[in-house]
Amino acid sequence: MPPASSVLTAMQHRVRSAVGFASVASILVSSAAARAQTMTTGPTIAQSGQLYAERFIGDPSLGHDVGQSTRPTNLNPLGINYSDCIEDMFLQFTVTLSGFTGNDNMQVWATTTGDCTADGTRGNAGAIQPVCWKVSEGLTLPVIQTDSRKFNIPVRALVGPQNAVPLATTLVGDLGPDACTHQPSFAPVPITVWFLPLLSNGLLDTTGHAYQYPTISTDLVGPPPPVGIPSIGDGDTLFVVSWMPNTDADTAGYDIFIDSGQADASVSTPSTSTLYCPDSSAPFTTTDAGDDGSATDAALATDDAASTTDAAGCYYINGGGSLPTGSGGTSCTSTVLVSGIVQDSGTTTVITETDEAGNVIDSGTFSGTGGIATIPCQYLVGTSCPAGQAAYTAINPTVPGKAAGTYTISGLVNGTTYNVVVAAVDNSGNPGPPSPESCDYPAPVNDFWHVYRQDGGRAGGFCALEAVGEPVPSAAGLALIAVTSAFALRRRRRRR
């Protein structure tokens, strides 16, 4: 069995690798570990079985076990994000108790500063402001325990008091969903959970051995949206959406949302519009505001009489020099795409991200307002997201990678106006507040192949050297080549 010091060192390594951040907290953890190392006998709490807590949605006695993580390895799977909190997730810790002879309590405490073993951190020993809060009463006197026990800690109790630590003896109760909005910035916060042997007066039993669970990276606030308004490049049934990539260390990708809030382009089409009918030989220009059943529409329908789909197969195209009304975020009118919770404002400095060896991976200061996008899943594109849920429940972002700056949305209907917003997603999977809206509508385009074929070009099709239905010369040409080759070979053999 390895000595206690090496176990603690290994635990610290795991903490750093799991969280990905080296912070002041890790220094405090080291000093706490040093103190824990001095404890020799007495009540001891140790890890039992798996290192990481089991997760349940809702009360573990009622809810369902979702394993030790619900996210991919690149999205802080062992940490806590907004979705975990709002879904009322519980963490079930399993520890082994030994040496409890009836003189000690066993309580569970949490902190953002790394250490709860010093009595002052829990509000004892004359301390005025504690930095640890009690998340479980654990076991109260007299504890005579020699086996493993499970303790269920609600995520909300872990993350709720981080910004306002309650008084020492107060057990954090059911804080409700409000607990999920108390993180002060979009930078992750490390939270450490301690299992402590405490005397009846609340002081640490220094003859015992506390257990520190690996630090949990907690992030309940998504990063600020990309700066500016996303731009839309229109294509044939598609948008090419572009935005300015974020520079903060927290952003790990982007979610793209789209809403066809307006029934068709006629709602916002400028007065100079053209009815474009793909199955007709010529477009029809009109100053009519749209397909509203007016006399002009009737005339257009008459013009398009040859079409079996009639006006339904045509699009109103904005031939004028301006975008649809409100494009550019001034008054694009989708109300669902603005859903979000703003949780911090102003300039925030993102903590420096380091690797296990302490090398700086990423760092920087970023101005913006973090929060959480609460747009329903059906407006999120490019990733799976349960219908009826909010976008923060999506497992993966639409576009991974902080440096990404463009995404193509396909499958749109030409002539229909769509509103688009972009939200940055952090390393824990939290989508931040959406950007301002941008709106436009796709329109038919002629790519090179269309132009070539429309101009009379007849090439195409990969497998045949000749197009289907073409006359004989292809076979004749190939035969000529074959005969010439055979003749040449035969002549060469004769020479030999």
């Binding site: 839309i232 490049g233 229109d234 294509g235 044939d236 598609l238 948008f239 090419v240 053209t274 474009y276 793909p278 477009p283 195209i317 904005n318 031939g319 004028g320 020099g321 301006s322 975008l323 649809p324 193509t408 396909s410 436009d440 329109a443 038919p444 385009v445 002629n446 790519d447 090179f448 192949w449 269309h450 132009v451 070539y452 074929r453 429309q454 101009d455 009379g456 070009g457 007849r458 090439a459 195409g460 099709g461 990969f462 050297l465 000749e466 197009a467 073409e470 006359p471 010369p473 292809s474 004749a476 040409g477 190939l478 000529l480 080549i481």
Partner: protein, 261 residues
């Protein structure tokens, strides 16, 4: 006038090449003769050649008579040339005395051109959409190659004229933002067959640094290194086997580096 210019140009090229000869000859002494004789003695066998070819390239698509004067390529991609890169491998199967080597060669390359597609109708006051349109060309060819290195081997003029003639087959793909293009059920992929011709002149770099050339031969087996330029004609108009292929060949100058080994 043209003939006169060509003759004058040819004379200049020969004069420049011969100009190298006096320098070389002037520098000759008994020591160099010894080195040369040693070089000949250690020269590795030579059976192959490898070329890296770079060309400013614009396909002949708009020359298709079936387009009746329309210029789909020019209207979409413009008039500027794109880079065509080709790698060629030759087998110098035989040597013709007092002429040079002859043998088959194969080449394969890549070129791509892209632009923003145009709207079918003006949209938001512009005709340029946000959708891209791309044409990729993968040319391949099989040619017979004649390299007349007699000037270099027998007169020590480091110029090697060469000619290549054969058949070319280029594969191509037209695509847009969503992938391979399609128009009325016809997919924008295919291949075009035709003839391949190149006439060029290679400058042997060995005499510029004999020592490096010898080392290159002894270490890597490379006998000669050339800079070359040639006039290339890739006439992919079907070669009796296709009625109306996409004319992705062209006429262009090619520049590159060649190695014989």
């Amino acid at each position: 006038v043209n003939t006169g210019h060509r003759r004058a140009g040819l004379a200049l090229v020969i004069a420049a090449a011969v100009g190298l000869l006096p320098n070389r000859a002037g520098a000759q002494d008994s020591r160099e003769d010894i080195l040369q004789s040693r070089h000949r003695a250690f020269e590795s066998p030579q059976h192959f050649a490898f070329e890296l070819r770079f060309s400013p390239f614009k396909p002949d698509i708009d020359s298709d008579p079936g387009l009746h004067g329309a210029t789909p390529y020019g209207s979409v991609f413009g008039s500027s040339a794109q880079l065509l890169f080709v790698a060629e491998f030759d087998w110098q199967a035989a040597r013709i005395p007092h002429v040079g080597t002859i043998g088959p060669g194969v080449g394969a390359g890549y070129a791509t051109m892209g632009a923003n597609a145009q709207f079918a109708m003006p949209h938001n006051g512009t005709t340029i959409s946000g959708e891209t349109t791309t044409l990729e060309i993968f040319p391949t060819y099989l040619v017979g190659v004649l390299r007349a290195d007699v000037l270099w081997r027998e007169v020590h003029i480091p110029l090697v004229p060469y000619a290549k003639l054969g058949v070319g087959l280029s594969f191509w793909r037209a695509s847009n933002t969503l992938g391979t293009s399609s128009y009325q059920g016809v997919s924008g992929v295919g291949q075009s067959l035709g003839t391949q011709l190149a006439l060029g002149l290679a400058l042997n770099l060995n005499p510029f640094d004999d020592y490096a050339a010898r080392n290159f031969d002894e270490a890597m087996g490379v006998n000669n290194t050339y800079l070359f330029a040639d006039w290339t004609r890739s006439d992919l108009t079907g070669l009796w086997a296709q009625q109306a292929p996409l004319r992705v060949g062209g006429t262009y100058w090619t520049f590159g580096l060649a190695f014989e080994f």
